[in-house]
Symmetry: none
Subunit: 210 residues, 2 copies
């Protein structure tokens, strides 16, 4: 497995691109393998491009960053997209994350945080800074809102799921009905907004819910 992370920059401001280069230059494992200022050019070249993570400015001249994001995730789902934005608006953030962004940063991000998030994204596919105000008041009820906390029982079930136990086995472990465990599972998925146990475990580990 290669240890290098190949990055592609898409941002209309050369200043930003150069800034990113200098920020990332001290990190040998991070390599900027290309950059582009026009979204359409980028998208048409996308099939030929080889990189791991796209660093994407949300505000672009010719296409909206959101459209680029969706297009990238449609064509090359294996590519992770880290979104940079002028806006701190959680509304944008949620939309970006829903559209498949692996991370969302405002442009005044600390460089170390950016670097960390790149590694995190490479490792786990996503980077959700816990601090980022998911509990901010303006947020509507949203599946992305993982601020909901699991109950004790749900965490118990999760812990046994992680080591590969089926509902039936977990039920036996606790002396409960398998149907009960299944209910817990479904409730966990509902709370985390996940659609199966694989994703659930991924989110649980990422969010440190174990």
């Amino acid at each position: 497995m290669k240890d290098r992370i190949d990055l592609f920059l898409l941002d209309d401001h050369k200043i930003v691109r150069d800034g990113l280069r200098s920020i990332l230059s001290p990190y040998p494992s991070l390599k900027i393998v290309g950059e582009e200022s026009h979204a359409k050019k980028f998208l048409s070249a996308l099939p030929e491009l080889k990189f791991d993570i796209l660093i994407l400015d949300l505000s672009l001249p010719d296409l909206s960053g959101m459209e680029v994001l969706k297009e990238v995730k449609r064509l090359r789902p294996e590519i992770s997209v880290i979104v940079l934005s002028m806006h701190n608006n959680p509304e944008y953030m949620i939309r970006a994350l829903k559209a498949g962004a692996a991370a969302y940063h405002s442009k005044d991000i600390q460089s170390t945080v950016l670097v960390e998030s790149i590694h995190e994204v490479k490792k786990h596919g996503v980077y959700y800074p816990t601090a980022i105000s998911l509990n901010s008041p303006s947020l509507p009820q949203d599946p992305v809102q993982k601020g909901e906390v699991l109950t004790q029982k749900e965490r118990d079930v999760l812990k046994l799921m992680v080591i590969g136990m089926s509902s039936k086995q977990i039920a036996a472990e606790y002396g409960l009905s398998p149907r009960t465990i299944e209910t817990h599972r479904l409730n966990i998925m509902k709370k985390l907004g996940t659609s199966n146990s694989a994703e659930t475990i991924a989110v649980a580990i990422r969010e440190n819910l174990l």
Copy 2:
């Protein structure tokens, strides 16, 4: 007996290594005599290296930290290994301690605790901070003999599994038959020794296979 303690850092994150350097720099008796980001490079260099304690990140890009740990204890049993981990899960801790780790810390450890544990390890060979529930239920008896590495396609499938896609969806994404994806899935589970997708994702994240 020399009063200096020679440390070697093995961690893929330069940030972590740099952080450790700055944490440990105020202590004249602690000397970092080397660092490495790649497990394989480290292991091949190991016979020439002289140090007392290895500070080891459990999640490494090319080899799992557990494998490194076992290898170090096999080749150089006199070296103490202090494990750093992202995970607070006692299961990992127990596995690490069973494999010969002298101490186990999560990465958000207090620096003073780390320093203390280094001295403790040097003096007594081990550092067991808290009461560890060794009676924790059903530790799988170390099926971790997975020197086998996943293929590119298998990793691709894994990555989409992590974001909650079913075999059918993954197949559609790649233009393949669902049966093919299922085959990949089963091969992954076979290689990792897991019994369902939840456990598979857990191991994959833990072992840094994504």
